[in-house]
């Protein structure tokens, strides 16, 4: 295919994309003449070029579309069908272009269908095409310009012919001038805004042959210099046609034209690689120079080299940066088409479109973004009727937001729709066997939401043409992770869903601060670092501790300190007071990273983490330093996430966190603190532990590879509390015994440390299922063990046997403590109940009044904010629930409570920590229920 055609294709595709976007904007704002004229100009350019290249189909289509748009300009009302028609015409043009690209020729076929419709639409209002011009010309200047243009363009060829003839016949000075004018004339066809001057030009030519020609000779000469033989050859002429088109775009406002050239991407990539290598080599040289004290006269040139390299690098980086808006360009059209197809009203708001990021990154996220926006429009935003019913404005909003944050770019895609259906996701996950019921029960909504990234996972009730086929979100995740990014979901029922994509700014080079912690070096991206503070107990800045948590007073503000060695697990629990604090800012959070040493800043070439290490959110990549050492690059965002201070700006998830905080505020929990295989402390609520035992290791028997011990005449399975701890073969083995009915389980621990009463404030939610999370217990970081993780491992068989033959009862558990709910649910499930939970009395009432059928209600009588008795009273007032059995949980029961309970027909009051009592109370209830039935 010849270059000319290729260039035409690239240009035209670009123009079409702009037209797409502009058309949607225009539909929303039909009175905006600037938009219309922009569209008009672009379509006209396409039409003109097609004419030159001999592409009749394209030309005819563009012409028909242009005619209709001309009508808009003449005041015809802009309607959705007409815009749709123009958009589908553009689609047809794209199709033909695609064929053209593949085969080098316009495909066979007819577009009479579209053209007919366009013509019909255009002729609906046969207004004054011919009448308008004269008065308008003399009215406002803007309209006049286009009017004149219109007139010339529609019958375009004719007037040009005439013009040409005029030129040819004109007594023109010499050949060169003629060449110039010919070229210029071509330019005129595409260059829309120039017509006023062209009018004059024409007149000038017609009237005065000599001097007028000279006036315009300058630009002409430039044009003809490029291709002196351009005289008559059509391709050459249209080649020029491109340049003026560009000139036209910028030339309107700025006299000095912005010079651009197209460069093959491979060339840029190669350049980038070479610069990366250059930077590395420069770093090595600098390192050598740093080490040798002698100056052999090369240090000055080396400085210069360093400087030049930096500048070169900057320059090359700039060639790779593109505004993210480029990836968004298609979205308005996508959303518009979708909202028409799905009969929804959707507003697309785009913020931060000029945020720049690496071209390579941009390419990778383009498709995922489109997919996610489609998803939001299809699944997220409800139909106008539903929205109205939910008390929301009929028009839904999808909001795209991009901004820089701590060395990476954050893109948010938020809708104000119905939110994720967590129940459906849980159900689907269980159906597909991705997670067991027990696991699902324990998972937070945020964890459950992540299931939508599983391959083939779709909860859409029906498969639409848009989405719901379950392909996509996993691809989205894979694509984003491929470039070292992350995707997060926040969703709230009825309020919408927000996807947050974090991607590195560039895949190439960043400035980083090299720090050390425990003899190991790390790189922290400079962009996240706001200052460095030296700390020691004697200096002005010293680390203070609140309940063991390090804090730095910095200019009257408290700065949370994260000792790097601690998050890395490089050191034990000793308190570090010396070193440097790297004050880091990530979004709205400030925190200090405590390191042992700070070296220098270095330009590092970011290399992606090995796929085996990518799950460690603390690191964003690695690099090779000047001295050849590999160092890890710390991801400040990941660090912020790890230290858990991220929660406060997470508006959707904050509910759960608040809840936990509330639990912590008013509850003292007795905790059994013990040690597992590693140094770290672990704890479990004492209420869950039946007994503590120490047994002779020799009595442990191994049955089919699993350790068991004979305990009170039964076999009790043993489980090690963590992977690092092997169950002892000799000596004494400490056990925590958990009993569940007749079944017991022994949790092997290294050492039982203490029993403490403390506020249980789970600060870090663990990603591991064997831990609930970490909490500060008596000033020490302690891992809170999730007993529910171990119970099913050994008790599964028993509970299944027990359950057999008995109808499953449903139960509603009302307890404001997430912790207790999490602990009790697996136990109740193992006893054969279908468990529903509610954290507040209000929620319980809502569940029950919404038709949830339960056999038994188990409620904490001291619900936060609302008495459990009040809950029961309101239940008794409801005719449906007057007889429903209720079991009350309490921390301490007094006669007054018991009397009140009797009055409200509460079947039993059980101490909150007495799980066995609860189970037997339930069993008793069951019998009476069965008898009744």
């Amino acid at each position: 295919m010849d270059d000319l055609l290729l260039e035409f294709l690239t240009e035209t595709n670009e123009h079409l994309e702009t037209v797409d976007v502009e058309m949607v904007r225009f539909e929303q704002d039909p009175n905006n003449e600037a938009i219309l004229s922009n569209i008009f100009r672009l379509v006209h350019t396409i039409k003109g070029t097609c004419g030159f290249l001999g592409l009749p189909r394209l030309e005819a289509l563009a012409h028909a579309a242009e005619t209709l748009m001309g009508k808009f300009r003449d005041g015809m009302p802009v309607t959705t069908p007409s815009v749709s028609l123009i958009l589908s015409t553009l689609d047809r043009i794209k199709e033909i272009l695609g064929e053209l690209e593949r085969q080098g020729a316009e495909p066979e076929g007819s577009d009479s269908d579209l053209i007919e419709m366009l013509d019909k639409m255009a002729s609906q209002e046969p207004t004054a095409q011919e009448v308008a011009p004269a008065p308008k010309t003399s009215q406002t200047s803007g309209a006049a310009v286009y009017q004149v243009l219109e007139r010339e363009l529609k019958p375009g060829e004719v007037s040009l012919d005439e013009l040409e003839r005029a030129f040819r016949e004109a007594p023109g000075p010499e050949k060169a001038t003629t060449a110039g004018t010919l070229a210029y004339q071509v330019l005129e066809r595409s260059l829309k805004p120039g017509e006023v001057s062209l009018d004059e030009l024409e007149r000038a030519f017609r009237e005065a042959p000599g001097p007028a020609a000279l006036v315009i000779e300058k630009p002409m000469a430039k044009a003809s210099n490029e291709k002196p033989t351009a005289l008559a050859a059509v391709p050459a002429v249209s080649k020029k046609n491109m340049d003026p088109a560009e000139a036209g775009e910028s030339g309107e406002a700025i006299p000095g034209k912005v010079q651009t050239i197209r460069v093959n991407v491979d060339t840029l990539e190669h350049l980038m690689t070479m610069v990366s290598e250059l930077v590395l080599t420069r770093n090595q040289l600098l390192e050598i120079a740093r080490r040798s004290s002698e100056d052999h006269g090369y240090k000055v040139p080396l400085q210069r080299l360093s400087q030049v390299t930096a500048e070169l690098q900057d320059g090359v980086m700039k060639t790779r940066m593109q505004p993210i808006g480029n990836a968004w360009q298609k979205l308005p059209r996508v959303v518009r088409d979708l909202s028409n197809e799905l009969s929804k009203k959707i507003d697309l708001v785009m913020q931060g479109a000029d945020t720049e990021l690496d071209r390579q990154v941009l390419e990778v996220i383009k498709d995922p973004l489109t997919h996610m926006v489609r998803n939001s429009a299809d699944h997220g935003v409800e139909s106008p009727a539903e929205r109205k019913a939910a008390g929301k404005p009929e028009k839904g909003t999808i909001r795209l937001n991009a901004y820089h944050e701590g060395g990476s770019i954050t893109i948010e895609i938020a809708d104000d729709g119905k939110g994720l259906n967590f129940a459906a996701i849980r159900k689907k996950a269980a159906e597909r066997g991705i997670a067991s019921d027990a696991e699902l029960e324990r998972m937070s909504d945020a964890q459950v939401a992540k299931f939508i990234f599983h391959p083939g996972f779709s909860t859409a009730a029906k498969v639409t043409s848009v989405s719901g086929r379950g392909v996509g979100m996993d691809v989205v995740k894979t694509n984003i992770e491929l470039i070292g990014g992350t995707v997060d979901i926040r969703s709230e029922q009825g309020r919408g869903t927000t996807f947050t994509i974090k991607i590195p700014l560039t895949l190439a080079i960043v400035a980083a601060l090299i720090v050390s912690s425990k003899d190991q070096r790390f790189a922290i991206p400079q962009i996240a670092v706001s200052e460095l503070v030296r700390v020691s107990p004697t200096s002005e800045h010293s680390i203070e501790r609140i309940n063991g948590t390090p804090i730095l007073r910095l200019r009257d503000r408290l700065l949370p300190i994260v000792p790097l060695s601690k998050v890395m697990g490089l050191s034990g629990n000793e308190d570090v007071n010396h070193g440097f604090v790297v004050v880091t800012q990530v979004a709205h959070q400030r925190f200090g990273i405590l390191v042992d040493g700070v070296f220098h800043t270095e330009e590092i070439v970011v290399k992606p983490m090995s796929s085996k290490l990518r799950h460690i959110q603390l690191f964003s990549g690695n690099t090779i330093l000047g001295d050849g050492a590999v160092v890890l690059i710390i991801d400040p965002n990941g660090l912020a996430r790890m230290v858990g201070s991220d929660a406060d700006r997470n508006e959707f998830q904050s509910d759960a966190n608040l809840e936990q905080a509330a639990v912590a505020a008013d509850e003292l929990t007795s905790l059994l603190v013990f040690r597992g295989g590693s140094e770290s402390l672990k704890a479990v609520p004492l209420s869950l532990v039946t007994r503590l035992e120490e047994i002779e290791a020799s009595t442990i028997e191994w049955s089919s590879g699993r350790p068991v011990v004979q305990y009170r005449g039964r076999l009790m399975p043993l489980v090690s509390c963590d992977e690092e701890l092997a169950i002892k073969r000799e000596g004494m083995q400490s056990l925590l015994v958990f009993s569940d009915g007749d079944v017991s389980m022994g949790l092997a621990v290294a050492e039982i440390v203490d029993i403490v009463e403390d506020k249980l404030d789970i600060e870090l939610l663990a990603e591991r299922s064997d831990l609930v999370g970490s909490a500060v217990v008596r000033g020490r970081t302690t891992e809170i063990v999730n007993v529910a993780h171990y119970l099913p491992m050994v008790l599964e068989t028993w509970s299944r046997k027990e359950r057999k033959g008995r109808p499953e009862r449903s139960l509603l558990l009302v307890d404001s403590s997430t912790f207790f709910r999490d602990m009790l649910v697996p136990v109740l499930k193992a006893s054969g109940y279908r468990v529903q939970t509610a954290s507040t009395a209000q929620e319980a009432v809502r569940l029950l009044s919404s038709g949830l059928h339960v056999d038994v209600v188990v409620t904490d009588l001291e619900l936060s904010g609302h008495s459990g008795f009040a809950l029961v009273a309101s239940l008794r007032a409801d005719p449906h629930h007057t007889t429903i059995p209720v079991i009350g949980l309490t921390v301490r029961s007094d006669p007054q409570q018991i009397a009140l309970a009797r009055k409200l027909h509460i079947s039993e009051i059980v101490s909150k920590i007495d799980r066995r009592g609860l189970l037997s109370a339930l069993a008793e209830l069951n019998e009476t229920l069965e008898e009744a039935a």
Binding site: I434, A435, H454, K612, L613, R614, V630, L632
Partner: protein, 162 residues
């Protein structure tokens, strides 16, 4: 049983019969890696440990300007590390576009073996080993376990289920 897809160059007839293996020693056991998968063999100089990394990963290496993930074959085989300074050898492998260095105790010679003579894994072999072994070759004075390179490098890293 899955065999290695690529065939060494040279006489096609001999090639169909013979496969070449790079032999390595770990804890006194001779193991063989198909030569087609081995990029190079190198001495480990300086290694950066990765905090919070899975136990199998010993660290990161700089191999001629490329960052290589060092995987301890000992730990992969469920053996303890007994590194006591001195020379450390690694076999350079490539898997899904990423470079790995498999840390071994010693690198031996290259052996030509006939794939037909490979015996299946003994039934009572350690479970962890069975997953990594394609079979066993009987050499004159010892046994050689043929390592499944893909299996060796396919260990679980994502701890979170979601």
């Amino acid at each position: 049983m899955k065999l290695i897809d690529s065939i060494p160059y040279g006489n096609p007839k001999a090639a169909s019969k013979q496969m070449e293996f790079v032999t390595v020693m770990v804890a006194g056991q001779l193991l063989g890696l198909p030569i087609s998968r081995v990029h190079d063999v190198f001495v480990v100089s300086e290694m950066t440990t990765v905090p919070l990394a899975p136990g199998e990963i010993a660290g990161l290496l700089n191999l001629r300007g490329r960052v290589v993930t060092a995987v301890s074959l000992r730990r992969r085989l469920g053996l303890g590390d007994t590194y006591e300074g001195g020379r450390r050898m690694a076999v350079g492998l490539e898997n899904q576009g990423e470079a790995y260095g498999l840390l071994v105790d010693e690198v031996g010679e290259v052996l030509k073996l006939n794939p037909d003579e490979m015996q299946p894994n003994p039934v009572h072999m350690d479970r962890g080993w069975v997953g990594l072994s394609q079979g066993v070759h009987q050499l004159r004075d010892q046994l050689l376990i043929v390592l499944d390179v893909d299996a060796v490098l396919a260990f679980e890293t994502e701890r979170e289920a979601a």
